[in-house]
C-alpha cells in the first residue's frame, strides 16, 4: 500500500475518521496499533508477525536492562537485543550478499561452490524498523531513557504506520513521550500537514515517477546511450532519488501530523550543500544522526588521534552504505562518501574558514564540487554492477562518448528547476507563506494544486526506492 495509491487514501480516510472519533487516548492507541499492523500486513502478514515478535523481544530486553544494575547482565541483555535485530537484518537482507560474495571469493581461489536454492524475500522496511528498535534498547542501556512500561505503547512505537517502512527513523526518546497524552491538532497544524502531504505527493508521483522511465532506460542498457544522455540520466536520478525519498518523508510526517504526532525532519534542501559535510547534515538526517550516535560515537567518535577519527568515519560510512543495500556498489558508495568526508576534514584543517565571511566564489565552487561528487556517487548507488557504474562515471567525466541514443535535452532543466525551487523556497520561505494564508485562500490554492497534480500523474506508480532498504 503506497502513500500515493488510491487504496491508501481510502485506508487513511477511515483511520483518520475513526481515530478522531475516539475520545480516549487508550482507545486511539489500540486503534492505531491495529491500523499499523493492517498497513504492514497488507504487504505480507508473515512479516507483520515477525515485526511483532521483534518488538516484544526488544520490549522484554529493555525491561530487563532497566530492572538490573548488574553491568554484566545489562551488557548481556543489550547484546541479546543487538543479536536478535542484526540476525534478522543479516538473514533477510544480507544472506544472498554474503553467500554470493563467499562463492565469488571461492571461485577466485578456484574452488567451486554451488549457489543455494533458498530464496529469501526481503521484508519491506526491515532496515528501518530494526534500526529503530536497536536505538531503543541501546538508549535504555546507556540510561538515556527509561524502559517503556506499556508493551502496547512500545509495539505501537515500533509499528507506527506512517514511518514504518521508509522512515524517518524515529527515536523512542522523541516519540514515546508523545504517546503519553491525548493528541490535539490546530487548524495551522492541519494546514501544515496538508501542505506537506501534497508536496510529498507531487515530488513522488508527479516528478520521481515520471522521470523514472528515462533513468531506467539508460541505467538498464547503458552501452547504447551517448555521454550527454548518460549525464542527463545521472542528473535525473539525482532528482528522482531526492523527490522519491523526501516525498515519502514529507508524506509520512504529514500523515503522522494529521493524527497529532510529530516526526523528525529528514531532508533539508540537501542539493544546496556547499560541502560534503554539509550534505550529510541535510540528507536523510534521521539515518545520518543514527549512525553518528550508534556507530561513530560507539567506535570512539572524534579522537585526539586524527587517524582514529578518520578510521571511525570511514567505518561509519561504509556501514551506512551497506545499510542501503546488500551489494558491493553500496559499500563503495559509502566508502566514497567516507573518503570525501575525510578529505573535507583535512581541507578544513589546513584551510580554516571564517564562517561569517566565506567569499561567494568559494561557496559556489564548493557547491559545484559537492553536487558533482554526489551525482557521481549516485551512479554507483543506482548501477546494477561496477561495470555499469564505471562506464557511466567515465561518460560523466567525458572520458567516453558512448553510443547514439539520446534523451530529450529539456529534461536537464528538471535538475536545474529543482535547485532553483529549493533555493527560492528557502529564500521566500514558501512553506510559511502558504500556511499563513487564510483558510479559504489556502483551500482554494490547495484545490488548484491538486488538480494540477492529478493531471501530472505518471504512467504507473513505482514503489518508493527506499522501500527496498
Amino acid at each position: 500500500m503506497l502513500f500515493v495509491e488510491l487504496r491508501f487514501f481510502v485506508f487513511f480516510a477511515i483511520v483518520l475518521i475513526t481515530y478522531w472519533s475516539l475520545r480516549s487516548n487508550n482507545l486511539r492507541k489500540w486503534f492505531l496499533l491495529a491500523a499499523s499492523y493492517y498497513f504492514y500486513g497488507s504487504w505480507d502478514w508473515r512479516f507483520a508477525c515477525m515485526l511483532f515478535g521483534l518488538s516484544c523481544g526488544d520490549y522484554f530486553f529493555a525491561r530487563c536492562i532497566s530492572q538490573t544494575e548488574d553491568r554484566r547482565a545489562r551488557r548481556w541483555y543489550v547484546t541479546a537485543s543487538l543479536t536478535m535485530n542484526l540476525s534478522v537484518l543479516a538473514f533477510f537482507k544480507y544472506f544472498h550478499f554474503f553467500v554470493n560474495s563467499a562463492i565469488a571469493a571461492a571461485s577466485a581461489a578456484h574452488i567451486h561452490l554451488d549457489e543455494p536454492t533458498i530464496h529469501i524475500i526481503l521484508p519491506v522496511g526491515v532496515s528501518f524498523f530494526t534500526f529503530q528498535s536497536l536505538s531503543y534498547t541501546i538508549d535504555v542501556y546507556r540510561r538515556e531513557i527509561p524502559a517503556v512500561h506499556s508493551i502496547r505503547d512500545y509495539v505501537l512505537f515500533a509499528a507506527f504506520f506512517p514511518q514504518l517502512v521508509a522512515g524517518p527513523i524515529v527515536r523512542p526518546k522523541y516519540f514515546v513521550p508523545q504517546l503519553a497524552s491525548n493528541r490535539h491538532v490546530t487548524v495551522d497544524d492541519i494546514k501544515h500537514a496538508l501542505y506537506l502531504f501534497l508536496l510529498g505527493y507531487v515530488k513522488k508521483a508527479c516528478i520521481a515517477d515520471n522521470i523514472s522511465p528515462y533513468v531506467d532506460k539508460v541505467f538498464n542498457a547503458p552501452a547504447h546511450w551517448s555521454a550527454l544522455a548518460s549525464i542527463t540520466a545521472t542528473w535525473l536520478y539525482t532528482v528522482q532519488i531526492f523527490s522519491d525519498f523526501s516525498g515519502y518523508s514529507d508524506m509520512a510526517i504529514a500523515v503522522a501530523a494529521m493524527m497529532g504526532y510529530k516526526l523528525v525532519l529528514n531532508f533539508d534542501a540537501p542539493y544546496l550543500s556547499e560541502s560534503i559535510q554539509d550534505f550529510w547534515r541535510r540528507w536523510h538526517i534521521s539515518l545520518s544522526s543514527w549512525i553518528r550516535d550508534y556507530i561513530y560515537i560507539s567506535l570512539g567518535g572524534r579522537s585526539k588521534k586524527l587517524w582514529l577519527t578518520y578510521r571511525n568515519l570511514m567505518i561509519t560510512m561504509l556501514a551506512g552504505g551497506l545499510w542501503h543495500g546488500a551489494a558491493w556498489t553500496f559499500v563503495a558508495w559509502g566508502g566514497l562518501h567516507g573518503g570525501a568526508l575525510v578529505v573535507n576534514q583535512e581541507f578544513r584543517r589546513h584551510f580554516p574558514l571564517n564562517k561569517n565571511a566565506v567569499p561567494w566564489w568559494r561557496r559556489a565552487f564548493g557547491w559545484f564540487l559537492t553536487m558533482n561528487f554526489v551525482c557521481i556517487c549516485w551512479i554507483l548507488f543506482r548501477a546494477s554492477s561496477f561495470g555499469v557504474a564505471w562506464l557511466l562515471i567515465k561518460r560523466y567525466l567525458l572520458f567516453n562518448h558512448g553510443g547514439d541514443g539520446s534523451l530529450p535535452v529539456w529534461l536537464i532543466f528538471f535538475a536545474i528547476g529543482l535547485l532553483l525551487l529549493q533555493y527560492l523556497s528557502r529564500r521566500i520561505n514558501l512553506h510559511d507563506l502558504v500556511c499563513d494564508l487564510s483558510l479559504p485562500r489556502f483551500a482554494f490554492a490547495y484545490g488548484c494544486v491538486w488538480a494540477f497534480a492529478i493531471s501530472m500523474l505518471p504512467f504507473g506508480y513505482r514503489p518508493f526506492i527506499y522501500f527496498q532498504f
Binding site: P146, H192, P213, D268, R281, R302, S455
Partner: protein, 390 residues
C-alpha cells in the same frame, strides 16, 4: 529523566547542531473553525480544483494519448504510413494478432476494391478505443481523388469491453473518455441484452472514466513526458511488411494453450448457432464515424473474427445492418461450417487467437467474403464509385 529533552549532540563530521533532529516548526494556536468556515473552505477547494482542471483541459491540444506500452505503437505505424494507406482493421487482440494486411490486400488486388490496409487493432483494446483510433485514422486520410484506392474501415463487431482497473486508473489509457465516447460506451450497455449487472458495470465504468478524463488524470504528464515506444513490439509489427500485425507463433507443445486446442478439436459434434448481439453501441459507432467516413469516401464494414470455441457455439449475425450512410456489411468468419480450413492445428496460438499462419488464412477469407458480398471479380472490376452492396 525528561524524555522530551533534545539529546545532546557531539560536534562530529556527520552532524551539526543546526541541521539534525530538527522538529517541524511549531505552529501558533489558531481559533477553532466553525462549520461555516469548513463548508466555505471545501467550496473554495472545489472551485480551485475545477478551475484548474478546466484550464489544463483546454490547454491540452491532443488528448489522444494512448497507453504507451501497447497502443502508441499503432499510432506510430499510422504516422509512418500516412498518405500510403487507404484502409485499416480495428478491434481488440483478435485483430491485432489475427488480421494480416498483406494477405487481405493480395486477395483484393486487381479488383475495384484494391486497397492498402493497416492493422490498427489494439490488444486489450475496448470498443471505445476502437472507435477513437478508427476516427483518427479516417481523419488522417487525404481528401479522396480520382486515383485513390478503395477505402474500408473494418470494425470488429465482437470487440470486447475490456474494462479493467488498469484502464480506469491508468492515466494514459482513459484519456479517450470524452463526452461522445462516454455516450458511445453507454450505448453498448443495453440492460435488456446484457443484463443489468453488465450494463451498470459498463456504464458506470465509462462515467467514472469520463469524470477522470475531465479531471485530466495524467493527460498533462503524458504530453510532457511522452512515453517511449516499445521498440521491440514496433519492430515485430513492422518487420516483413506486416503493417501492424503482431505475429503469434505456435503455442508451445504441452502448454495450457495447446492442451486447450486439443480439447476443442477433440470435442467434435456439430457447432451450435446462437444469435449474435447487435447492440445500440454498434449503431452508435457507425453514427460516430459517419460524418468523417462520408467526407473521405470510406466504407464501414463490420466483421466477426473467428475463435476456436466456434467449434462448440458460434454467433449468427444478419448479413448487414442499417447505417447512417446505407447498409453496413457484417462479414462473419466465425462459422466453422463455412470455413473449415481455419479450424486446423497449427493455426491457433490459443483458443481465441490465431497464429501468423492462421491470420493469413483468416484475412484472405475476409477479403474473399468482402469481394463476394460486393460482387467483385478480378476479371470485371467495377468502378470504385459503385462499390456498394449489390
Amino acid at each position: 529523566m525528561n524524555l522530551a529533552a533534545p539529546y545532546v549532540e557531539a560536534e562530529t563530521p556527520l552532524a551539526s547542531i543546526e541541521g539534525h533532529d530538527r522538529e517541524p516548526r511549531e505552529r501558533r494556536d489558531s481559533p477553532r473553525p466553525t462549520s461555516r468556515h469548513i463548508v466555505a473552505s471545501v467550496a473554495m477547494m472545489s472551485i480551485g480544483f475545477v478551475l484548474t482542471a478546466a484550464i489544463v483541459h483546454l490547454s491540452i491540444r491532443n488528448p489522444l494519448r494512448l497507453y504507451a506500452e501497447i497502443r502508441s505503437e499503432k499510432l506510430a505505424i499510422l504516422d509512418q504510413w500516412r498518405g500510403r494507406e487507404s484502409s485499416a482493421a480495428f478491434g481488440s487482440s483478435h485483430v491485432d494478432d489475427g488480421f494480416d494486411p498483406r494477405a487481405f490486400d493480395a486477395e483484393l488486388r486487381g479488383t475495384a476494391a484494391e486497397t492498402t490496409t493497416l492493422n490498427l487493432g489494439i490488444s486489450g483494446g475496448s470498443q471505445t478505443e476502437q472507435a477513437v483510433v478508427a476516427k483518427k485514422f479516417i481523419d488522417s486520410l487525404p481528401d479522396p481523388g480520382k486515383d485513390s484506392q478503395a477505402r474500408f474501415v473494418l470494425l470488429e463487431i465482437t470487440a470486447g469491453a475490456n474494462f479493467t482497473n488498469d484502464h480506469l486508473f491508468h492515466p494514459r489509457a482513459i484519456n479517450i473518455y470524452d463526452l461522445p465516447i462516454v455516450r458511445l460506451a453507454v450505448d453498448y450497455s443495453n440492460p435488456r441484452k446484457l443484463g443489468w449487472r453488465r450494463a451498470i458495470g459498463r456504464s458506470g465504468f465509462s462515467l467514472l472514466a469520463g469524470l477522470l478524463h475531465y479531471t485530466n488524470v495524467g493527460m498533462l504528464s503524458s504530453s510532457i513526458f511522452s512515453a517511449p515506444l516499445n521498440e521491440e513490439l514496433l519492430a515485430s509489427q513492422t518487420g516483413d511488411d506486416r503493417r501492424g500485425l503482431t505475429p503469434n507463433h505456435l503455442a508451445a507443445p504441452g502448454s495450457p494453450e495447446s492442451r486447450a486446442d486439443q480439447q476443442l478439436f477433440a470435442a467434435g459434434g456439430v457447432p451450435r448457432p446462437e444469435p449474435g448481439e447487435v447492440l445500440d453501441g454498434h449503431y452508435a459507432l457507425l453514427r460516430y464515424l459517419a460524418d468523417a467516413a462520408r467526407r473521405k469516401h470510406v466504407q464501414l464494414v463490420y466483421f466477426v473474427a473467428p475463435r476456436l470455441d466456434n467449434l462448440i457455439t458460434y454467433s449468427v449475425f444478419p448479413e448487414s445492418i442499417k447505417g447512417p450512410l446505407g447498409p453496413v456489411l457484417i462479414l462473419n468468419e466465425g462459422q466453422p461450417a463455412l470455413h473449415p480450413e481455419l479450424y486446423r492445428a497449427g493455426l491457433w496460438h490459443d483458443p481465441t487467437h490465431l497464429t501468423e499462419a492462421g491470420a493469413a488464412i483468416f484475412s484472405k477469407l475476409l477479403a474473399d467474403d468482402l469481394k463476394s458480398k460486393l460482387q467483385l471479380t478480378a476479371a470485371t472490376p467495377a468502378p470504385r464509385s459503385e462499390l456498394a452492396i449489390r
